[in-house]
Amino acid sequence: MAKRELLGLYEEANEAGDAVEGLRDAGFPDTDVEILSSTPYPEGAFGEPKVEHRLYTFPFAGAAIGMTAGIFWLVSAQMSLPLITGGKPIVAVPAVFQILYEGTMIGAVLFTVLGVIFESRLPDGIGLYDKRIVDGYIGVTIRASEDDLLRARETLERAGAIDIINNEGSIMGAGTPQGA
């Protein structure tokens, strides 16, 4: 069954933490719960689980690709015009190392940035969002099936939500939603 999303807005971080705990106790999996804030809170501040990611592998992959591309370009460029200069070998490590290094590093940087975008699940245009989050409110979103939606809403309300929003708008009538 398709899941629908609800967003609860909270004034205090503690209330958002209560909401997360409440949803967990109510049987909702952590993967369906998301916390939205406009300020980075320390990891675990809301009782959320640690974020699993593979961002560290991206620089290594990028560096390997950059180095390979660099070697290919450097060797082929020099072999295609095999001029001996200064008595040095046509393809010599001290001569090519600098450009090879830059190629490796730019590969690492490009892939790291791609990794950041990928691991951040960007571009993100489908989740619920509310502009009040930028004013310091904390959002807790829950994806639930139709049958569980009411239970999710009650849990959010019990934790002290000032507003609850779905795709149609505010359920409590305190504001309008803004999709990201």
Binding site: E34, I35, L36, S37, S38, T39, P40, Y41, P42, E43, F46, E48, V51, H53, L55, Y56, P59, W73, L74, A77, Q78, S80, L81, T85, K88, A92, A95, V96, Q98, I99, Y101, E102, G103, M105, I106, A108, V109, L110, T112, V113, V116, I117, E119, S120, R121, L122, P123, D124, G125, G127, Y129, K131, I133, V134, D135, G136, Q178, A180
Partner: protein, 457 residues
């Protein structure tokens, strides 16, 4: 040492977004003036294309003048961004928060200014594509990767792209903020596209934190390599006065010295121009001044090594070059000015706490440093060419020309306009970072004293 900011998020955003949303009158007059200077530089450039490089005063053997000096100078300034931003991120120094964006933006525009100079200097800029672009068009000749002049574009391009991407990744939360704060629909659309839908989920914040550390760690080696490669433009030759193995770290540390000084100057100007009191405080310039003391002293040591080992071999050509640098032409006046402005005035002053915490004094001393460091690059380049070879005949003595001076001024105008334009479009300080700093700052009561403290994961 820390003065914890204690603003709510609306106040933070209002102050940081103020310049983006409201334009003071001085912006127009300043931009007009600077664009005029830039325009004058453009006229000189066109003239040079028509008349040739002798329009700038170059002839055998001094073919590298103000333009190359300025190239090295701007590359040096560009090093501040990464040094300040990456090093302070890696060491998790709290005072980095208001500084990083300004430093990175100065880096981007000074790098672009630097790139312009070798292009202008070639006399026929479009031909540089043949020997710099990594593809053989139609001539059957690939770029020569053995030449330091080909290493330069690869290093600068890598650094420029890396810095832009670094800034962009760190900008994502601020773009999201700007998206949500923007009232103008055009602005809102632009920020929505650029923000890629950033919502501030825990995952996105976590990735932001790790990305900052990862990219800082990757960019630091790039930053070291760029100015080292620029130094090798000189050092791998056999020109007396240039062939010294210490050039690479000497250039890098000189770049940090001039670059961080430029960042301090820029921050003080931004504080005054954008009314960022409370965000840029005496603590920040105090901390940067302490870093500068260490960097400047290291730079002085490397200058000593350059000087000593230049004369070490007692080769007549090397000795001749150094004598030219100290006693030749205008150098009996310029050489003392160089060392006095780079070190002798600023560093002893920075040892005094009240000077370090004074915006006026820091503004003056950091400007002096950059005057001295510009002279240092001039001292490195010109005298060595003047004494390049005893068999070389000269058409004329090298005298700096007004047209060169106009190009130098135009580069300053370019960088300042670029930074102003950036500040008009995007927040000059990382709002999310500032908010995080406010969130995590606290106090610890020890006895009767409340000691500033920070919370850290």
């Amino acid at each position: 040492m820390q003065e914890p900011p204690s603003y709510d998020v609306k106040t933070i955003d209002r102050r940081l977004f103020d310049f983006m949303l409201h334009t003071p009158k001085w912006f127009f007059t300043t931009s007009a003036g600077l664009l005029t200077v830039f325009g004058a530089g453009f006229v000189v450039f066109i003239s040079m294309l028509y008349f040739g490089l002798q329009f700038l005063g170059y002839s055998h053997p001094v073919y590298w003048g103000f333009l190359i000096v300025n190239f090295v100078f701007w590359i040096g300034i560009s090093h501040a961004g990464v040094f300040v931003s990456a090093v302070l991120r890696l060491t998790q120094a709290e005072f980095r928060r208001p500084v990083t964006r300004a430093a990175e933006v100065v880096t981007i525009f000074s790098l672009q200014a630097a790139v312009l100079f070798p292009l202008i200097h070639s006399g026929r800029p479009w031909r540089t594509a043949y020997w710099a672009f990594p593809y053989d068009f139609i001539r059957g000749m690939w770029p020569n990767p053995r030449s330091p002049l080909v290493w330069d574009p690869s290093a600068i391009f890598t650094y420029l792209i890396s810095t832009i991407l670094f800034v962009y990744v760190a900008l994502l939360p601020d773009l999201a903020l700007a998206r949500d704060r923007a009232e103008d629909p055009v602005r809102r659309w632009v920020f929505t596209v650029l923000a890629l839908g950033f919502r501030g989920t825990s995952r996105q914040w976590r990735i932001q934190a790790i990305a900052g550390i990862l990219l800082s760690a990757i960019i630091l080696p790039i930053f070291v390599s760029v100015h080292s490669i620029v130094s090798w433009d000189f050092a791998v030759t056999s020109v007396p006065g240039w062939h010294n193995t210490v050039f690479a770290p000497y250039f890098v540390i000189g770049a940090v010295h001039s670059g961080v000084s430029a960042v301090v100057t820029a921050m003080i100007v931004m504080k005054w121009a954008f009314k960022l009191d409370g965000y840029i405080t005496a603590d920040h310039i105090d901390a940067l001044a302490r870093v500068l003391i260490a960097v400047a002293t290291g730079w002085l040591f490397l200058l000593f090594l350059d000087f000593s080992f230049g004369l070490y071999g007692e080769e007549s050509a090397e000795v001749d070059t150094w004598m030219q640098r100290i006693y030749g032409g205008a150098w009996p006046v310029l050489a003392p000015i160089f060392i006095i402005t780079s070190y002798i005035i600023p560093v002893p002053l920075w040892l005094i706490k009240s000077v370090r915490r004074s915006f006026g004094w820091m503004f003056v001393t950091t400007i002096l440093v950059n005057i001295g460091m510009w002279l240092e690059r001039y001292m490195l380049v010109i005298p060595a060419l003047e004494r390049k070879s005893s068999l070389t005949f000269t058409y004329s003595e090298y005298i700096p020309s007004i047209s060169e001076g106009i190009l130098v001024l135009a580069s300053f105008a370019f960088v300042i306009v670029g930074v102003l334009a950036f500040c008009k479009v995007l927040p000059v300080m990382p709002a999310a970072d500032i908010r995080e700093g406010a969130l995590l700052s606290t106090e610890l009561k020890i006895g009767r004293r409340s000691v500033p403290a920070t919370l850290r994961e």
